[in-house]
């Protein structure tokens, strides 16, 4: 089937199999490998991207369901060499070690801060419950999100 998407502001049209998952579409068809496949069971959140501005797990969505949608991946956040505020906050706060979960964490954070611009620490921990990190113990990730929101002390 033929689908059209806008990925990071750029229009795409492709013939895809109906069973193609959004994450495979982004990585293998569009060629953007910043979005990671982690658990592949919608548990870990590594594949989180924005579809029409809201976070979704792209391993559990068909490319066909995203037909006509605006998709933002980690590659679409920075403005040239200037990091997006959430990316900069993760960098500043040492919010990653191996980095595998980071693209998904950052995308989930962008969506969370869109819905709750001034979150409490509890809002952040609940808001990122769909994203697993095996390295950091989450503390620096929470710090980064609060810093990005401008609510850090």
């Amino acid at each position: 089937m033929r689908i059209g998407t806008t990925v990071n502001g750029q229009a795409h049209e492709h013939d895809v199999e109906p069973r193609l998952l959004l994450v495979q579409y982004l990585r293998e068809v569009v060629g953007l490998t910043g979005t990671k496949i982690g658990c592949d069971t919608s548990s870990c959140g590594a594949c989180t991207v924005l579809v029409d501005g809201e976070s979704v797990k792209s391993c559990t969505m068909l490319a066909a369901q995203a037909d006509g949608s605006e998709i933002t991946t980690i590659e679409g956040l920075a403005d040239g060499d200037e990091l997006h505020p959430v990316q900069a906050a993760f960098h500043e706060s040492h919010a990653l070690q191996c980095g595998f979960c980071t693209a998904g964490m950052v995308m989930a954070t962008v969506s969370l801060l869109d819905e709750i611009p001034s979150p409490t620490e509890r809002d952040v921990r609940l808001g990122l419950e769909g994203n697993l990190c095996r390295c950091t113990g989450y503390h620096n990730i929470v710090k980064a999100v609060l810093a990005a929101a401008g609510t850090s002390r």
Partner: protein
């Protein structure tokens, strides 16, 4: 993990979806948000040959005050329930339980009708709708019918929905000011409940159990004990009666019954606070 091949049909309306189901018969499945169906298809536990995508039938996404009850469109997403002002005013328990489903990403896609139609006893919303005595409106080739929640859940992932029917609306009695608590026991924040217990106190007391059998259940023995004057602690001791919990990596059946007794007591106490 990649689903087995299927044909994809996008329905623009409830009528188109029902026509597609009639055309493709038992081989077709409805796809709403996909939060339950797609994981099953990736594991090849479900292999429909035709998917009828109703995810864009926008006129089935709403929460309306319908006078004596609330009308919720079957394709209303959990995200829209947890932020609904109408629910805040008239049925706070539904708003609260919707906010307990999965995680943000799941709530951005998953729908109330999808969750109910899937009929998973470990899901949060079906147990609440059972406790609230909700009514489900379903449409098929012969027209519309309504099914009471108490008649809807028939077995594990088995409901009163016929293969050619689509759920269109969930009708929920107003429960303004009801005392409510949902006690969800899980290993990780986003997981399914290992056991869940909810209590709704609004005149009488209703108690429902998540993941304590093949279907969502009312804790009838607890409700009867309370109606007969038992204390909350005494009534909660009967939470395991009439249940048939399964054993799995997370819990034995005996441990699930223990959890049910503890969680029902906590839910009753919190709903009365």
């Amino acid at each position: 993990m990649i689903p087995a091949p299927f044909d994809y049909v996008r329905a623009g309306s409830a009528g188109e979806a029902i026509a597609a189901l009639a055309e493709h018969g038992d081989d077709a499945k409805l796809l709403a948000g996909g939060m339950s169906l797609l994981p099953l298809m990736k594991l090849r536990l479900a292999t429909p040959t035709v998917l009828v995508d109703v995810g864009r039938v926008r006129d089935l996404s709403y929460v309306r005050d319908a006078g004596d009850h609330l009308a919720v469109g079957a394709l209303t997403r959990h995200r829209d329930l947890e932020t609904s002002d109408v629910l805040a005013a008239h049925c706070a328990p539904l708003r609260t339980v919707a906010s307990e489903v999965g995680d943000n990403q799941v709530r951005h896609r998953g729908t109330i009708g999808g969750s109910v139609s899937h009929g998973d006893p470990a899901s949060d919303l079906p147990a609440l709708l059972l406790a609230l005595d909700a009514t489900f409106v379903v449409q098929g080739p012969g027209g519309e019918r309504t099914v009471a929640a108490a008649e809807f859940f028939r077995g594990f992932l088995e409901t009163a929905l016929e293969p050619d029917e689509l759920m269109t609306e969930i009708r929920v009695p107003k429960s303004r000011g009801a005392g409510f608590s949902y006690q969800k026991f899980q290993r990780r924040a986003q997981d399914w409940a290992i056991v869940g217990a909810m209590a709704v106190r609004n005149g009488d007391t209703r108690v429902a159990l998540v993941n304590m059998g093949a279907t969502p259940l009312r804790a009838v023995a607890v409700e009867e004990a309370l109606a007969g004057g038992a204390s909350m602690a005494e009534a909660a001791e009967r939470a395991g009666e009439g249940t048939e919990p399964s054993g799995d990596i997370n819990a034995t059946p005996e441990y699930r019954e223990h959890l049910a007794r503890v969680l029902v007591r906590r839910a009753l106490e919190a709903a009365s606070a």
